[in-house]
C-alpha cells in the first residue's frame, strides 16, 4: 500500500558540501514532497475535467471550433476557477521550496563558503573567467523562481544559489532523482554503456552544468575520461566544483564559459558533448548557436546528447502541451514553451548534425529503487517535471567535413 511513498528527505546522501538540514527543515521538505505528489496526482486530474466539462464546451460555444494552439487553451484555462486554484497551490509549493532551502543555506552560509573555498583550493577543479557575461536569457527572470537565479551572489564569492538548488531539488522531484539528485546523469551513463558497451570517450563536455549533479556521474562512470563542465554562472560552478571535490571526483573541471562561445576549444576536441535539461534554459537565437559550437568542438564519430522533456509534436494533444507548458508561465521558464514547440531534429540538422545521424531515445532517472521509487507513470505524471525524459542525440558522422 505504501510502496509508492516518496522516501524521507533524510534518505538523501549527505555529501560533505550538502547543507545540513535540521529536523524541521527536513520535515518541511517532506511536506512539500507529499504536497507536490498530491497536486500532480489525484487533484491534477481536475484540470482535465475542468477542461472537458467547462472550458472546452465554452470555447466551442464562443468560437464555433476547437482550440488550435496550446496558448488558446491556456488563455481559456486561466479564466477557469479550478485551474487558477490549482496553479496557485503549485506556485506556492515552489516558492515554499525556495524559501525553506534558502533559510537552511543562508543560516550556515559562513560554514558552506569556507568549506567550498577549501575544497576548491585543494582540488583545483574550478576555473572562473570573470569576462564571461551572464546571457540575457539567464537574467531576464530568476529561473525556477529561485531568488537570484543560478548566477547571483548574496555576497562576493558565495555558494548560496548552488547550495539551495542542491538542498531542495528533492522536494520538487519527489525524490525521483535519487540520493545525490543525479538520476539524470545516471540515466545518461546507463544509456551510453548499453548503447556502446566498449566506448571509452576521453574528453567530455557538459554544457550548462549548474552544480554538476548530472556531469559528476558521467565522470565517475568513465574514470579514464576528462570531463569539462561549463556554465556561465560562477555562483553555481563554485558549489559544483566544491561538491565534486568533496565527493572525491578528480577527473572533472568546472569552467566558466558560455556554450555559445566555445572558442577556447579547438575543432574536434571532445568525444562527447552533453546537455541535461538545459536547452530549454536558452533562447531562440542562442540554441542554434550553441548547437553549432557543440558540433564544431565534437570530434567526427563523437556523441552529442541532450536530455529534455518530450518535444511538443502534432501527435501530442494540445491539452497535454498546455499542461506541459505550465512551468513556462508559472515557474519562470521563459524559453520552455518555444523550445518544446520546436522540432529539435530540425534545429540539430541546422547546426550540422545530419538527420540520418540523429536518434531519439526514452530514458528515465536511474536511482536506487530500494530507497527511491521511480516517478509515477503516465497516469499521475507531473507534467514537465517527471524524471522520464527523451534523449535527443546524434553520432557525428566521420565524413561530415567532406559532406559539408
Amino acid at each position: 500500500m505504501a510502496s509508492d511513498l516518496p522516501p524521507p528527505y533524510t534518505a538523501l546522501t549527505r555529501h560533505p558540501m550538502m547543507p545540513r538540514t535540521n529536523h524541521d527543515e527536513a520535515a518541511r521538505f517532506n511536506f512539500l514532497t507529499h504536497f507536490n505528489r498530491f497536486l500532480s496526482g489525484g487533484v491534477g486530474a481536475g484540470n482535465k475535467l475542468a477542461y472537458a466539462n467547462e472550458v472546452l464546451p465554452a470555447f466551442r460555444a464562443e468560437h464555433g471550433r476547437d482550440p488550435e494552439h496550446r496558448y488558446e487553451i491556456r488563455d481559456a484555462m486561466n479564466q477557469n476557477d479550478w485551474h487558477r486554484m490549482w496553479s496557485a497551490l503549485k506556485r506556492n509549493s515552489m516558492e515554499m521550496r525556495q524559501h525553506n532551502g534558502r533559510q537552511a543555506v543562508l543560516r550556515q552560509l559562513d560554514e558552506l563558503d569556507a568549506m567550498a573555498e577549501q575544497y576548491i583550493d585543494s582540488s583545483g577543479l574550478l576555473e572562473l573567467d570573470p569576462s564571461v557575461e551572464q546571457p540575457h536569457y539567464q537574467t531576464a527572470v530568476d529561473i525556477h523562481c529561485q531568488p537570484g537565479g543560478y548566477h547571483s551572489e548574496e555576497r562576493s564569492g558565495d555558494v548560496t544559489v548552488g547550495a539551495n538548488y542542491d538542498v531542495g531539488l528533492f522536494a520538487t522531484t519527489g525524490g525521483a532523482l535519487g540520493g545525490l539528485n543525479d538520476g539524470g546523469g545516471q540515466a545518461v551513463v546507463e544509456w551510453a554503456k548499453k548503447e556502446r558497451p566498449d566506448w571509452q570517450p576521453k574528453r567530455i563536455l557538459d554544457i550548462g552544468c549548474t552544480v554538476g549533479h548530472n556531469a559528476v556521474p558521467i565522470a565517475q562512470a568513465f574514470p579514464g575520461a576528462e570531463v569539462i563542465a561549463i556554465d556561465t554562472a560562477a555562483a553555481s560552478l563554485r558549489y559544483g566544483a566544491a561538491r565534486a571535490a568533496a565527493m572525491g571526483v578528480t577527473n572533472i573541471k568546472f569552467v566558466q564559459a558560455s556554450g555559445e562561445d566555445l572558442s577556447r576549444w579547438a575543432d574536434g576536441t571532445f568525444d562527447w558533448v552533453q546537455t541535461t535539461m538545459f536547452l530549454h534554459e536558452l533562447s531562440s537565437k542562442a540554441m542554434p548557436k550553441l548547437l553549432a559550437e557543440a558540433n564544431r568542438v565534437l570530434t567526427p564519430g563523437g556523441l552529442i546528447l541532450h536530455i529534455e522533456q518530450p518535444q511538443y509534436s502534432d501527435d501530442m494533444p494540445l491539452f497535454e502541451q498546455f499542461m506541459r507548458d505550465w512551468d513556462a508561465f508559472n515557474n519562470n521558464e521563459p524559453f520552455w514553451s518555444a523550445m518544446h514547440g520546436r522540432d529539435l531534429k530540425d534545429v540539430m540538422a541546422g547546426a550540422g548534425f545530419p538527420r540520418e545521424s540523429q536518434f531519439v531515445a526514452g530514458v528515465r532517472a536511474v536511482a536506487d529503487p530500494e530507497i527511491f521509487p521511480p516517478s509515477p507513470d503516465d497516469g499521475e505524471e507531473d507534467f514537465g517535471r517527471a524524471a522520464i525524459w527523451n534523449a535527443y542525440g546524434a553520432w557525428k558522422p566521420a565524413e561530415q567535413a567532406a559532406a559539408a
Binding site: L5, H23, F35, V43, G149
Partner: protein
Amino acid sequence: MSDPIDWVALSGRRAKGKRPEYFEDPALDRLYSTVFALAAEVSALRERQDTVERMLDEKGTISREDIETYQPDRAAGEERGLATRAYVSRIMRGFQQHVEAMEADDPPIMDIVEKLARE
C-alpha cells in the same frame, strides 16, 4: 569570514519576474501563501512530535541534538510518509472533493428537495 548576514530577511527575497495573479482579489493570493506555509509548519510539528515519541520509546530519554539529527529507518520512514500523506489528504480534502464533484456533476440540491416533495 565576511560580515554576518541577516539570513532570515535574505531567505525571503522574491524571485525576479512578475508573479502571476491567480485570483481577482490579491488578498486571496496572499492568503494562500500564508495558509500553505502554515500547513507545512503543522506538518513539521507533527513530524517532530513523532520523532520525540519514537526516541522516547527507544531510549527513554532524548536530547535536542538527538531530535535534530534523527534519521528514520526504512520502516519508520514509511510510517511517517504515510502519516504525512494522510495529513495532506485531510487539509486538501476540499480540493480533492472539488475534483470528485466535477466528475459527478450533481444537480443543485433544490432540484432533489423539490423532487422529493413531488414524488
